[in-house]
Symmetry: C2
Subunit: 211 residues, 2 copies
């Protein structure tokens, strides 16, 4: 079918529908919404896309995306410099920052996933191990996703830290922890899946300790 719409409209629509989670209908709807916006706004939108990566680098220490290297978190000495939260993506850092984590981070760049052809060497695990060998870290908090791949990634990292500790490359004083699994706050016990519930049971704590 020959399209009846202007080429510029088709073009933006196809650009938008190439984004994950946006189908052709949503893309059309968004494009028509944008047709109603002012020219300056569209220019501003366009610049936000074009200039996205102009000033963005990866921190060479924690691998988070940032404007400077080292990133603001790695260069902030007011944080708990002896704790490292190991996360999959830079976005996970945002979530932990909102939860007021005050240590540093290590962004893996993904999760071990044979199905997607991602192995340990594709992640920044070696960089993490050499960070730990420097001896200024007391605790590594494995904060990968509570999914099959996230668990596998956490397990892999834990095993390799132990191995390096046996070899003496990483101080034996470094402890490895994992984020607690349990019922989400505000959730409904009735609707919790059995795995989450059994993890919540395993991880139960003295009532005093929860306050």
């Amino acid at each position: 079918m020959k399209s009846v719409l202007p080429q510029a409209v088709e073009r933006l629509s196809s650009v938008l529908s190439s984004l994950p989670g946006i189908g052709p209908k949503t893309a059309n709807r968004l494009t028509f919404y944008l047709l109603g916006r002012k020219d300056e706004e569209l220019k501003e939108f366009g610049d936000a896309f074009s200039e996205l990566k102009d000033k963005v680098v990866n921190c060479s220490t924690c691998h988070i995306i940032a404007e400077s290297d080292p990133c603001p978190i790695c260069s902030d000495s007011g944080r708990d410099t002896d704790k490292i939260a190991v996360v999959e993506e830079s976005l996970d850092v945002l979530a932990l920052e909102k939860a007021r984590f005050s240590g540093r981070y290590h962004v893996l760049g993904g999760q071990i996933s044979p199905i997607n052809n991602v192995g340990p060497d594709d992640l920044t695990i070696d960089a993490l191990l050499s960070r730990l060998s420097r001896g200024d870290t007391k605790e590594v908090i494995l904060a990968t996703d509570p999914s099959l791949e996230g668990e596998a990634t956490a397990l892999y990292i834990d095993e390799h830290i132990s191995l390096k500790q046996k070899e003496g490359a990483i101080p034996a004083s470094v402890t490895v922890t994992r984020l607690a699994r349990g019922l989400p706050v505000g959730g409904d016990l009735e609707y919790a899946d059995e795995l989450t519930l059994s993890r919540a049971l395993e991880g139960r704590r003295s009532y005093d300790g929860q306050k």
Copy 2:
């Protein structure tokens, strides 16, 4: 909370979350997805936004958005020039084109909606009436949404066409029709709402006629 992300990332994220139906989490997810795309692609994306309205005009006859005035549909003499489908938005034209409607269109630019402060004068109803007074139209198909506002808009237009026909301004030979209401194809009778089902009953046709 001071943001830990680069300004360019925050900027695109806030631009995306200003779009309808895209919340802050989706905007973040999209931005990080875009960080993984090539520079040229981002440039291309940006241009698609900036140049959206550069070559877009409204057809002065049917008010559809187009690259030229008259639009390709109005200037195509191979179509059924005596039928006009009255729709709310240019996007509705796309839907009717897919359904192989071969007449012309009239885009109202919205629907009568007192709650949104849109009255008949905000739409292109007067332009439609003067189009009809030219005498080259045999049928007006009211193809507004099957919603409360869409029905009200259709009713208003129908009444005003009748009025102009009594005054002699529009030929009495112009017939006004409305898209059929009924069960959507592929739908499930069990799940049809009662209003749709009662309209489907009212509009029932001889079984032969359906083939």
